[in-house]
């Protein structure tokens, strides 16, 4: 299935029928796939939020709450939450499901419109990548990202976290998102769960608001140790130490053929020619000119 971001803007893509697909029991696949996936995402996001474990409910944000599946995880943990979504149809489904949080119809690219310093944490499941699209001529992804991260930074209390799960389309897109987060003043980085698997791989942007000395280290992604891959691990430590927003996966340069200045040498060429002869190809005979470099003024 093509990615939804490429098809239509979110308020149009998540129309009534599409919204229903997300939640009704008519399609078994949705129950078996979408439900557990969202629960998994939101549970992991809540874990990464690293709220103090004292049993006190907090006031959290769910950005792009959709039909409220991720919000239910917050309710299960007895937190109060406020959900933002741009799609009226999805919010209608959330109403039907009688979610506990408050819902707001709002566009996160326009800023969140909350008072400064009142929210204890924010999660967002598969929503941020929508900001990278320009669905209307007036939309500028960079300006919208700036408005979103700026307002998110303002409304969070110092030392709190925002965990944004994202499907980023390509490296430049996730770089754009992270640059915007960094400009807004966030510290943090990317946590990749199961980086070596294409299917189970999940990317979470973990952002810390304000310079809090208590929560400096970035949590480790799940399943990173399953296969040793020294490049990735080194990079991750780098992100840990510096506390900046960065990408650490899949960014090593591709392997290039080793070519020395002199070329491969006569012995190599003769060996290759012999190989081809043995295979039965017609190969020019070896002479004193074989593998000799051409003069510059040919």
């Amino acid at each position: 299935m093509p990615r939804p971001e490429f098809q239509a803007p979110p308020e149009i893509f998540y129309n009534d029928s599409e919204a229903r697909k997300y939640t009704t029991s008519s399609r078994i696949i949705e129950i078996q796939v979408v439900f557990p996936l969202f629960h998994l995402f939101s549970e992991r996001a809540l874990e990464l939020l690293n709220l103090p474990n004292d049993g006190v409910p907090r006031l959290l944000l769910d950005i792009g709450c959709g039909s409220g599946i991720s919000g239910e995880t917050l309710s299960e943990n007895e937190h109060h939450w406020i959900g933002f979504d741009i799609s009226q149809s999805m919010l209608d489904v959330a109403l039907e499901r009688e979610v506990d949080g408050d819902l707001l119809l709002a566009d996160m690219g326009q800023g969140l419109g909350l008072r400064p310093g009142v929210i204890d944490g924010a999660i967002s499941i598969s929503a941020i990548q929508w900001l990278c699209n320009a669905d209307k001529s007036s939309h500028e992804p960079i300006a919208r990202l700036k408005a979103f991260f700026g307002s998110l930074y303002r409304c969070l209390t110092r030392g709190s976290r925002a965990v944004l799960q994202l499907y980023s389309d390509n490296a430049s897109q996730s770089e754009m998102i992270m640059k915007a987060a960094m400009r807004a003043g966030f510290a943090g980085g990317v946590v990749v769960d199961f980086p070596h698997s294409t299917r189970a791989r999940k990317t979470y942007l973990v952002l810390t608001c304000g310079s809090s000395s208590m929560q400096t280290s970035l949590p480790k992604g799940k399943g990173e140790d399953r296969e040793s891959c020294s490049d990735d691990d080194d990079d991750e430590r780098d992100v840990d130490g510096k506390q900046t927003v960065g990408i650490y996966d899949r960014h090593r340069p591709t392997k290039r053929m080793k070519i020395t200045k002199k070329g491969k040498g006569k012995a190599w060429v003769i060996k290759k020619k012999n190989q081809m002869r043995n295979k039965g190809y017609s190969v020019p005979p070896d002479t004193k000119y074989t593998a000799r470099k051409r003069k510059a003024c040919f």
Binding site: D102, L105, Q110, G113, L114, V118, K136
Partner: protein, 125 residues
């Protein structure tokens, strides 16, 4: 929409400096039972803008539910009765239909089925 959310919301139209508190126009509201949790209330109390909460409760017709002046946190910790009234105002009252009006521009954000529509027009971004 609970009054807790109303207390956090501000108008974010571009250029508006004084967009808080949004004036609440309630046409219909309901009350839902919510579990009482004193720890949450004490934790959230410093973040609450008390005059805005009192104003919102009055907009729903509760004139005497909360004292006009913000209570001291120590009073709140000891006075169970006050804490319960605070709980009721903050979490149990839901505005179903109505509107939120920006104090500076008088722009009205409608509330339908308990969901405020905070979408801005393109010239307001």
């Amino acid at each position: 929409m609970r009054l807790l959310t109303h207390n956090m919301l501000a108008c974010n139209i571009k250029g508006v400096t004084n967009g808080y508190p949004l004036r609440l126009e309630a046409e219909k509201w309901v009350e839902k039972e919510v579990d009482f949790n004193a720890d949450f209330l004490r934790g959230v109390f410093p973040k609450i803008d008390w005059p805005a909460l009192v104003g919102a409760a009055r907009a729903l017709g509760f004139h005497d539910l909360l004292p006009v002046d913000a209570p001291d946190p120590s009073v709140l910790a000891s006075d169970d009765e006050l804490l319960r009234r605070f709980h009721r105002a903050l979490l149990q009252l839901h505005v179903e239909e109505g509107g939120l009006v920006c104090p500076e521009t008088s722009r009205r954000f409608p509330i339908n089925k308990g969901i405020p529509n905070m979408l801005l027009h393109e010239d307001e971004v």
